[in-house]
Symmetry: C2
Subunit: 204 residues, 2 copies
């Protein structure tokens, strides 16, 4: 339309979208501010009007993906609310999200990108939403089984570790996408989370 107006108009979002695309296609290690700027038809230093550094730019993309992740879990939590399958479905959704977007996993959780508080002790204003959802659901599920407090704490951590580890494994190279794997992931998670529910059922 207009032939290169001096001001882009929506550069910040355009940069984030371009960066997201580069990460999805070429991986994070091939992402540079200059490439992203070029992709948006803008000069080297233009991004610095919107981000103070590459790190800040990366953090913005990270936040974008985190929002995606969060809303995925929230949808699942809503869909299976108050059903016995809630916890295992939530765990499955956790793994599936990354299994379907393998490049997102390393990008979100690689050490140098983590600027958010992932601390283990349940305290936390700055706790990221996905973990909050998972922990709350797990706590509720395990609570119904009137488990001793410290054991419940450990169970929650175990649940998180399981789905996080499964995500790490499922997104490794040489592990190509396979629909059967999705059902298998479900089985594995159920085998950990369900026993404590049914075990309780038989107790009643």
């Amino acid at each position: 339309m207009e032939n290169k107006p001096y001001h882009h108009g929506n550069l910040r979002n355009a940069l984030i979208r371009a960066g997201l695309e580069l990460i999805s296609t070429e991986g994070e290690e091939n992402l540079s501010l200059r490439k992203v700027a070029l992709k948006c038809g803008v000069s080297n230093a233009a991004p610095y009007a919107h981000f103070n550094s590459k790190d800040e730019f990366i953090a913005a993309i990270q936040q974008h993906i985190m929002d995606l992740f969060t809303s995925t879990l929230e949808q699942t939590a809503e869909m299976y609310a108050d059903t016995p399958a809630l916890l295992s479905m939530l765990g499955t959704a956790y793994v599936k999200f990354f299994y379907r977007n393998p490049l997102y996993f390393d990008f979100l959780f690689s050490r140098k990108n983590i600027r958010i508080n992932l601390s283990l002790d349940c305290a936390g204003e700055k706790e990221i939403p996905p973990l909050r959802i998972l922990k709350q659901t797990a706590a509720q599920a395990f609570c119904k089984v009137d488990m001793p407090e410290p054991i419940m704490q450990n169970k929650i951590i175990a649940m998180w570790a399981l789905v996080h580890g499964l995500s790490a494994i499922a997104t490794m190279p040489n592990v190509e996408y396979d629909e059967d794997w999705e059902t298998r992931i479900e089985e594995i998670i159920k085998s950990i989370s369900i026993p404590y529910m049914t075990q309780q059922e038989s107790k009643k």
Copy 2:
């Protein structure tokens, strides 16, 4: 002693040691071939007599750490051989290794560094030793419980995912080292791995 002989003598190993130190102190993102070369009192391009690329250099360091990791697990496997605690001790050793060297975890498992076969299906000549040890031990442990084959497969993957996920969590920033955590890690792993043993004991 001799003031800068033209030939270093043992440059390859010196480079690896220097790289290892840089990773341990400043993290992988601050590792450059030039810094490593300087640290060894050698010029920019000297490393290229021993490594074809930075990637190859990284792979060599990665192998070094992997060997450390492997021998740690092997020691544990030997120490607790034929005891009921073997599996949980091996899992604990897996997590502790990274908990005590947090920077190693991302370095070993971040996507771009993985050049080894981590495939899930137990087939594998190229399978890395640590996983082989863990899988074999888990298989043996779960085997004693005469579990159906597919369920056992899932249990093994769950075990791996648990310890891998715990490692990821334990090495996150903001999670400072804490001796109590080590015993807690042990508890969590036991709560997953032991039940199937004791359950079997009572079956006999």
